[in-house]
Amino acid sequence: MASAVASVSMLAAGCSSTAGSGAEDGGVVVMAASSLTEVMETVFEGRESVTPLFAASSTLVAQLVAGAEADVLITANAATMDRAVAEGSVRGEPVLIAVNTLVLATPAGNPGDVTGLADLSRRSLLVGLCAAEVPCGSLAQQALSEASVTPSVDTLEPNVRALTTKISLGELDAGLVYATDASTAGLATVDAPELHDHRNGYYVASVSAEPAPEVQAVIDDFTGLGSTGAEALYAYGFGRP
């Protein structure tokens, strides 16, 4: 049965090789925002046919535009997905699958005595944000400017995972990361009401306009309510769309 599916998909891939599909051997390549690392590893555990790749959404889109082979793209905001669609690198219809919010995170024990968003402007603190190019960075910039906080930034990290790691190592005193990353990494969080209204949406789309059945199955896993992918997202703290 499995081999029959594989050979059918090989034929399908052979017919649509111009669609830029990575599914030549029946495998499905899923490009996902780095904040989805644990969710994807949970969902695809034991499914060797699926290869997840993680990076900042903007990096993934740049790679796709440059001709990287993938079947499914999942970004952490609408802007990066829109760019992929506008560039013609994604031909499927994007679907909103989850939302995420930013939190003010500190290393365990909050050594910098951070009490609120305004503390990010304290020069004595080592503060990190995501670079404005990546979704968590543009969201952070938006939230900070609306709250009229001018942060004293020490580093602009290329993706949310790099930022999370530097906070958890205690090299940074505070930073704005996704709620889900903070909880996965065991960071302490400080309540910042200014962040509550700022959320971004996670979008999934097929790279090809006519995805192979196994590619569509991966997408359905996230778009269909009650499916394993959607359940895993909520279990890791992502919000329902």
């Binding site: 889109v61 740049a62 190019e133 580093t155 090299e171």
Partner: protein, 275 residues
Amino acid sequence: MSSPTRVRADPGTEPRPASRLPVPLTWVGFLALGLLLLPIVGLLQRAPWSALPSILGESEVLEALRVSLIVSLAATAACIVLGLPLAFVLARRRLRFPRIIRAVVMLPMVLPPVVAGTALLFALGRRGLVGQWLDSWFGVSLPFTTAGSVVAAAFVALPFFVVTVEAALRQAGDELDEAAATLGAGAWATLAHVTLPTIRPALAAGTALAWARALGEFGATLTFAGNFPGRTRTLPLETYLALERNPEAAVAISLVLMAVALAVLVTLRDRWMPR
């Protein structure tokens, strides 16, 4: 032997004429050359030539250039100050585990830069093995500072200087040094007037290689020193971010980095490297 005046090789030791090379060897050789050239051609054909001056005149690019020059030159200076003594120790002292020590010296050349950056964080970060004492005793914290970028660049560039100079020291031998000593020259005088002039080409080559490596350093810098304009964002970091925002700018900056590196290497071969 490696003095700037070239010794005329006797005709018997001239390279064999090309016609006596096995033909497939020549083909594969040119294929390899093509492999090295192709990415450069790829970059050149995507270069936004007409927009080049305006892109390179952008304030972010100039700022990154300034940080790059400061960081790479400081790292090169560190490589000379620290690397020269190390090269002497490796070449002239009887060491207990020479192979292991030499492997350790060369490790940063093969270590993935991101791993190097993480290792630096564990060692010299604010919570690192040594970094925590730097922080509590002197209030010095290296990550996210220009000094941190210099440390990262020096870490990856040091082996290039040490390996080059050590090889020259070994090749030069110590007969001249001993002769100078018999004639009554002190250790420092021998070093300054005999040893260092003998290995001058290697010193220049090692310095240039270390500088080129420091200038192109990316992974260790980003991981250890972070990324902030005017402080730690060097040209390679600017290129990486520009790739997502404005690919044309990324190509333009890459062209500059490539031109500089090429100029260094060409000058090196012409002026100092024994051919």
